[in-house]
Amino acid sequence: MAVAEPQQRPDLREPAGWRRTRNRIATALMVLAFVLVIIPLGFVLYTVIAKGASIISWSFLTGGPIPPNVLPASVGGMGPAVLGTIEITALATVISVPLGVLGAVYINEYGGKGLLARLIGFMADVMTGVPSIVMGLFIFSIWVLHFGYSGLAGAFALGCLMLPIVIRSSDEMLKLVPDPLREASYALGATKARVTLTVVLPAAIGGIVSGALLAVARAAGETAPLLFTILTVTAANRNVFSGANTALSTQIFANASQPYVGAQARAWGAALTLIAIAFILMIVARTVTARFTRYSR
């Protein structure tokens, strides 16, 4: 059998020179950018945990009322603020998420390229850019001036903030639902409402829920809209619909600006609590998304 002629082997190594250098520069820049991003984030977390962890206790989270600024950190607790944040954010969610999802459904499934759908989409974009303090002022002038401070007013302000986020994130999720799925449903004799309820929304629900929870986490930390609408108080107010209320974010603002050690410690503790709430919401969002998408792969 004839011996095969020696074959010249192709050189498959990455060519040296300028191209390799450029590659390395780009990689180094990306690593640098990542480090620069992670530094402030890590520093914020470190500071808040270092300064806030020592004050966190069950009585701090549930006890109350919030003591006057001069008292040391061991007295009383942030219970009223934790309660207020949960009440107000939950109410804001109940107001804005259904509205936002329905708005997104209209834009995507019903409005088509119509004027109204485009207008809603455009207004949602504009609303995203409105500073949160303006939302607070808006609710202050149309609601608080007539009906007084209340958790409900705060929920309205937060709802206004959340609404465009929910509309936009739901809109993106509904856009991702492939048209062949809609067609398959139509071809079985489904009406538009059926298609939306039984195919489009279930297919997008994971993304919609996680988008909504991101909006909730964002709203839970808002301070400015609440300053005008709930009037920060120190006692717990279980009735979210009437009477002045309080929240973690406004308590951070009120306590951190004081010269007293106890007040500042309470502010750090409240900050850590708020971050923990946001963190828990994120985990819930991930879990819910994973659960709802179990059939999609």
Binding site: G112, K113, P178, P180, L181, R182, E183, A184, S185, Y186, A187, L188, G189, A190, T191, R194, T198, V199, P202, A203, T293, R294, Y295, S296, R297
Partner: protein, 292 residues
């Protein structure tokens, strides 16, 4: 009882010149009742005329194949038969499309009711991101079937008809997206059959499948033919000869002035006649492989 009605339907249909000769040739041609009757149908997207002059009759319990080059409007015509084109806002149909004697595009006709009786299987398998069971049960459920026992029965029966039952009976609660392409397409067929349609429209159902899966679907079409009327769009001429009783050949007319292409029905007849003895030279060129 159906005979006179069918005679009325076919005689009232103006036949294209190409059909005159073939109509009297096959003596053994005894078609069932007319399911679809289209009379000089043209379909527009906005001002663009996508297909023109489609006149044909689809018969009961037969498989009718639409063949032709890309862009000739086969799929467009198929989608007018169950009003799927309604979903495209600019689409417009001119001329009459009759389904069992009723005009499909009459203003009192609901597209939902039409699609309930005229199902469709799409080119790419499109199972819902739900379980296998829920996919098949979807149609009966939206039509009001809530009885668990009945649903189980329908699901099993439909999956058996689609020759998929043995492969999935132990994992009905798994995601439908875990199925292979061929299985997913058979699932889509089972889903369509679950609402017990009168007609099944198939838009290139095998174009994304390998030959084995294709053979499985062709067998299944033969099996269900006695209970359903099937219209299939296919690019595969062998498939048309294997499965269909009648074949419609579509071609493209180029409009030199506006540089647009309009699909047109060239010839329609028994499949053997279309492939062995085509009347129109364009059909002959296409079926013998010399594209024209």
């Amino acid at each position: 009882m159906e005979e006179p009605e069918q005679n009325v339907a076919t005689t009232s249909l103006p036949k294209p010149a190409a059909l005159q000769k073939s109509a009297d040739a096959p003596v053994f041609d005894t078609p069932g009742a007319a399911i679809f009757n289209t009379d000089t149908v043209s379909i527009y997207y906005g001002s663009f005329r996508a297909v023109t002059d489609v006149s044909l009759t689809v018969h009961e319990n037969e498989i009718t194949a639409f063949i032709g080059p890309s862009g000739c409007g086969k799929t467009t015509v198929l989608r007018t038969l169950n009003r799927m084109n309604d979903l495209i806002p600019s689409a417009r149909v001119e001329g009459d499309v009759h389904y069992r004697g009723t005009s499909l595009y009459h203003k009192d006709v609901s597209a939902t009711a039409v699609r309930r009786r005229i199902g469709m299987v799409f080119q790419k398998p499109n199972p819902f991101p739900k379980s296998i069971y829920d996919n098949v049960a979807y149609g009966p459920r939206i039509n009001g079937q809530r009885n668990k026992g009945k649903l189980n029965e329908i699901v099993e029966h439909s999956l058996r008809q689609a020759a998929l039952w043995d492969e999935v009976k132990d994992r009905l609660n798994n995601s439908a997206l875990s199925l292979s392409g061929g299985q997913a397409q058979r699932l889509c067929i089972a889903r369509t059959l679950a609402v017990e349609p009168d007609v099944v429209l198939m838009d290139e159902p095998c174009s994304a499948l390998d030959p084995i899966a294709t053979a499985a679907i062709e067998d299944l079409m033969h099996d269900i033919k006695s209970r359903y009327t099937i219209v299939i769009v296919t690019h595969n001429m062998q498939q048309a000869t294997r499965v269909s009783d009648r074949t419609a050949f579509f071609s493209v007319l180029r409009n030199e002035e506006s540089d647009t292409r309009t699909g047109v029905l060239v010839e329609y007849g028994r499949t053997e006649q279309i492939f062995q003895d085509p009347v129109d030279p364009r059909t002959r060129a296409y079926v013998t492989g010399r594209m024209g």
